[in-house]
Symmetry: C2
Subunit: 193 residues, 2 copies
């Protein structure tokens, strides 16, 4: 039988990662997030910072609409990273029940695991407050940071999955964490496992 | 204090209306769906069948991209219906806590009531089975009926609200009723009230 896996997609600053961790804790199953980056460092040989930036976000060239940028000579580093990440996520889902945060796991595991696909989002004002609280001030305005991050994630998702990010029908449950609160979201999701 | 209202948007055949009714029953509050059509007949003088077809779906001319069709001489019948429906939904929300199905109530009540905005969707295969079971066979294939209905609703929604229908961030909770089951959806939503 296929393992039961919960995949979390989330808007930047929505608290999706926190919810994922709490759900995993409550269910007593592993939560893969940072751990995936560490494993990717081991397997790919790429630098940790490079992986964190390139394994979930469209790179700058793609953001500028240059889909073929660097591809005239075959797959780019990001494509290689996608392939390694793809296999790794399949392997994690085979190992046992778990929670996986981001990284298009919802798409990758679509027919490979018994998935509960979750999307967490929140109002931009609440997300802006949250990222300043969690990650501190930056030169860039928080709203601008959020828009850039979400845009890069959406383009990355679209490029590798050919699906649109944030469409309700792609997920079994989508929740507004800003309105419902982190704990309520955790409660609802664990009930569905 | 503003009344607490639950608005349901739903894909055709997803069971959203059934879920809405069960939620209202469980909470002991009225559910407005068909009742809105009856009230519109009374207030507008339009025929019931005409209202059922025009009060939630884009008319054929609009579907063909003719946004201005019939508008060169001012508002169309559908625009008048929209205005009456708009006021009616505001009035229902003022009267007391309730559940309202469809009709862009989520948009209309955005800043006028303490709303819980729900979206119900389901896989097209499951919806096709459901509409044949509920409404019987038609000449048109069930998948085609679904696509047409959803398309007309989405265009109607976009035209009057300038928002995109089915985007997760527009709702506090979006649920896949085909995967989670009607009763589970009812349970989750009543918990949030």
């Amino acid at each position: 039988m296929k393992n039961r896996v919960i995949t979390f997609s989330r808007e930047f600053g929505s608290g999706g990662r926190t919810i994922a961790k709490k759900v995993a804790e409550k269910l007593g199953i592993p939560c893969y997030d940072e751990e995936i980056i560490d494993r990717l460092v081991e397997e790919s040989g790429f630098d940790k910072k490079y992986i964190a930036e390139e394994s979930e976000y469209a790179s700058k060239s793609r953001l500028m609409g240059l889909i073929l940028a660097g591809r005239t000579n075959g797959p780019t580093n990001q494509d290689q990273l996608w392939n390694i990440q793809y296999k790794m996520i399949c392997k994690l889902a085979e190992e046992g029940p778990c929670v996986i945060v981001g990284r298009c796991a919802d798409y990758i595991l679509k027919d490979k695991a018994d998935c509960l696909r979750v999307f967490i989002h929140s109002d931009i004002k609440k997300r802006a407050e949250r990222i300043v609280r969690e990650y501190g001030e930056r030169d860039e305005l928080p709203e601008q940071r959020l828009n850039n991050k979400d845009k890069c994630r959406a383009i990355y998702y679209k490029f590798y999955t050919d699906m649109k990010w944030g469409i309700a029908t792609n997920y079994h449950i989508s929740l507004d964490s800003g309105e419902l609160g982190i704990d309520k979201c955790v409660e609802l999701i664990t009930q569905l496992y």
